[in-house]
């Protein structure tokens, strides 16, 4: 448990370096860290079927495992995996296993927009992980669980009238962490 927690707090580059030494737990962490990203690119940006997305998913991580030694910048693992996923999705579409549109018909710009959103979401998720537990909880309750200030106040034992200010403060911290990460794209969970 302690090892899982410490792996989760490592930057991408450190996880990659550990994977290269054959650390199985680090490999699991890497797959866990990027599995939703890869799956979302396949299903949301390229609209692959579930089966095709699953094939791409397997292929992406198999190649990542094989080619880890060739990676020039460990901190750039995310854009590298993103690019590999794009390429494999397009290959899959070209092979015609998808019944709908051919790759030429695919709105390339639209796919890039979706991938940019996914990149942002991943950065926000990583930035969120750097905040205190209190901040994470209050932001999660308001933005993800749609809880009212009154309900949040009752759950956390704080006056409802102070919740808006607390959320604003936590959003400010999240913004700082997010902008810091955008300046250093490889550092995903430091």
């Amino acid at each position: 448990m302690r090892d899982e927690l410490s792996l989760g707090s490592l930057a991408d580059a450190e996880v990659v370096a550990r994977c290269r030494t054959g650390d199985q737990a680090a490999w699991c962490e890497l797959v866990e860290r990027f599995s939703r990203y890869v799956h979302a690119i396949a299903t949301q940006a390229y609209r692959l079927s579930r089966e095709d997305a699953e094939d791409v998913f397997q292929d992406v991580f198999a190649r990542t495992y094989e080619q880890l030694d060739t990676l020039r910048d460990d901190a750039a693992i995310r854009p590298w995996i993103g690019q590999l996923t794009r390429r494999l999705c397009i290959d899959r579409l070209r092979r015609g296993s998808r019944e709908a549109a051919a790759p030429e018909e695919l709105e390339a710009l639209e796919a890039e927009d979706v991938i940019a959103l996914l990149d942002d979401a991943l950065s926000v998720h990583g930035a969120l992980a750097t905040l205190s537990g209190d901040c994470r909880e209050i932001l999660d309750r308001f933005f993800c669980r749609d809880e009212s200030y009154l309900a949040i106040g009752e759950a956390l034992g704080i006056p409802a009238g102070t919740i808006a200010s607390r959320i604003s403060r936590c959003l400010g911290k999240l913004r700082d962490a997010y902008e810091g990460r955008r300046r250093r794209p490889g550092a995903s969970r430091e």
Binding site: F143, S148, Y149, L150, G161, A164, I167, R169, L171, G172
Partner: protein, 197 residues
């Protein structure tokens, strides 16, 4: 592409005409949702003009926007839930008593859920707007106070609808919840109207 919404896509004048028409919906719940959404819009504007006055302004804008986006679709949701409850009431006279009572109770319960959400969002908007009135750009204090008062009105109107819809169900905790939300909104609206220090 987002599904068309007959109220949000209507011109304001046409929506008011729909409210005035002799039809069951849109009615009080839809109006309350729109008023709360408008109040959130005003709070959002007050927040945008408060950057440099209050460090929480940008966060307030983000919250106001989320609240506006949550409130607006409830205008249609309330009309649909209310019409379903009316249909259940009409069906009550042609079905065996036990089955129709249960269906009616469920339909009224669903019809109460939407105004309860409106009351909760209205309460949030009033609390956020009160913060903006107190800490935001003083030139926008009147708009922030307008947001708080409108949000309170929407929350109170919605809480009253919850109470009416659940009047047949004794002891439903949603009635007390709705009152608490409206009371919190009222307290916030009073704060927003207090003279500037």
């Amino acid at each position: 592409m987002a599904e068309a919404d007959p109220y949000l896509d209507a011109r304001l004048g046409d929506f008011v005409d729909l409210l005035a028409a002799r039809t069951p919906a849109p009615a009080g719940g839809s109006a309350a949702a729109v008023v709360v959404a408008m109040a959130a819009g005003l709070a959002e504007m007050a927040g945008r003009f408060s950057d440099g006055h209050w460090e929480g302004a940008r966060g307030a804008v983000a919250q106001a926007r989320v609240l506006r986006e949550r409130a607006a679709p409830l205008a249609r949701a309330d009309a649909e839930a209310y019409e379903a409850a009316l249909a259940a009431m009409r069906g009550q006279s042609v079905q065996p008593a036990g089955a129709s009572d249960r269906e009616l109770g469920e339909a009224l319960g669903r019809a109460a859920q939407v105004p309860l959400e409106i009351a909760a969002i209205g309460s949030d908007v009033a609390l956020l707007a009160a913060e903006l009135a107190e800490r935001g750009n003083p030139n926008l204090r009147g708009d922030a106070a307008a947001a708080a008062v409108l949000a309170e009105a929407g929350a109170r109107a919605a809480a009253n609808l919850v109470e009416i819809n659940l009047s047949a169900t004794a002891g439903d905790e949603r009635v007390a919840r709705a009152r608490s939300l409206a009371d919190a909104a009222a307290s916030a609206a009073r704060r927003s109207l207090a003279p500037a220090p």
